[in-house]
Assembly symmetry: C2
Homo-oligomer: 261 residues x 2
């Protein structure tokens, strides 16, 4: 499986993707799932992929072939809006899956993408492209998207991702969400590809973090210490607490136990 | 959906279950999913259920009918070991599902159970009963089991559940895992049923926590504050950090930034 996420902040976009692929537990591979496509000075695209590896690779190959071939066909150089890029990739995705359906015995070979980027003077955005070829944007209130193994790390994103979060904090949230997922699910694993896009820059700050990366080791250690400390700091629950009728009564009970004023 | 978990600690067993059921988003109900069965002074059983509601209710009804009917048939009063109780419930589960398969148009109507308890002088244990009728124990190293929506809250259990954790701490871990699940998935929700079983007591300390329960409000508030504080406390990640070769270099860099000795 896979875990990719993207955030749309006031400051810019943040992307994080793992690299583990598997076809059964005895066939583990590492493939990049975060891709950048440059197709003109006024536009910039980041693509994250989950699902059938053959399908995602052929979609990417077709995107690059369309860009390098002369003609009046649609490509990431011709689209005028980010949503048109999403529809274009959605169409390629459908075409690739359909072309292999018979060979795959009717099975899907489907893929899902997150497309991020900026076209012309438009605001940067992130869109989730479904295997069916349509797309959705991230919500205004909780501006993140996930594909792949989305459940393990979702709580943190729900809790902490807001448009006004700074990219540097968003990076910590993203890495914590990834660590929680990789710890609970073997099919998600390092190295991780991190991308930070600042509005109007038309280029991605890209980093690769391995499992022996000091930053990852440091973050994992501090994060786990914080989690365990949180359990120690949470108040012990007594039978009386469980029967308390309101927060004032609970607070009074806590005062009595600790002797606080 | 559902989220139920159980832990097997040196001190005893801890159970936590939500109560939300749904047949489509416009048909939400509340049903108890944590059940206790008394079938003799030397034995004690707790059952948590996930899956088809009709199947789980009929399995419970059959368990109670077997207990109240005279005869030499198998029941929770006749089994000599906890694993025999698991196989008995697994058999009822298969029988109920099979009896409705035709009516359900070939669909499963399957259910999954966690069985906890103590029989005679045996150590208390927790077992997961599959829809296929077989079972597994919790592992020795990380002695917890989950059924239903297991992914959202799994990281915390992996991180913190060990046999020597005290029941009072385990309760906090369980409630935090439940809060993270309910926050990220609408199909899991309060009230929550909490059960604490101390070894050899042959009875369950049972509590029901509603969404307006002061304890839940208090815990949720403190938990979220701790999570957000953790993000603030995690070190900011700079481009230099990302390129650091080892932890010593990272530590030196952090000293330089903060001026620490």
């Amino acid at each position: 499986m896979t875990y990719c996420l993207a955030m749309r902040l006031d400051e810019g976009l943040v992307f994080l993707a793992d690299t583990r692929t598997n076809a059964g537990v005895d066939n583990i591979g590492h493939y990049r799932k975060l891709h950048t496509v440059h197709s003109g000075h006024d536009r910039f695209f980041v693509l994250e992929s989950a699902g059938n590896l053959a399908t995602t690779q052929e979609v990417l190959d077709r995107i690059h072939r369309d860009l390098s071939t002369n003609g009046d066909h649609e490509s990431l150089a011709t689209v005028n809006h980010l949503f048109e890029a999403a529809l274009y990739i959605g169409r390629l995705n459908l075409e690739v899956a359909a072309s292999h359906r018979e060979g795959l015995g009717g099975a899907g070979g489907t893929a899902t993408f997150i497309l991020g980027g900026q076209v012309g003077g438009e605001d940067p955005d992130i869109l989730l492209i479904y295997p069916e070829g349509n797309y959705i944007r991230a919500s205004d209130d909780q501006p993140f998207l996930q594909i792949g193994e989305t459940k393990y790390g979702k709580y943190l994103l729900e809790l902490a991702v807001r448009p006004d979060v700074e990219a540097i904090t968003a990076t910590k949230i993203a890495l914590a969400s990834m660590m929680m997922t990789a710890r609970a699910n073997l099919s998600v694993g390092p190295p991780y590809d991190l991308g930070i896009y600042l509005n109007g820059s038309y280029e991605l700050d890209a980093f690769r973090l391995t499992d022996v990366s000091p930053v990852m080791q440091h973050l994992a250690q501090i994060w786990e210490e914080h989690m365990l400390q949180a359990f120690r700091d949470l108040p012990a629950i007594t039978r009386g607490d469980l029967a308390a009728k309101d927060l004032a009564e609970l607070a009074a009970r806590a005062q009595k136990v600790t002797g606080d004023q």
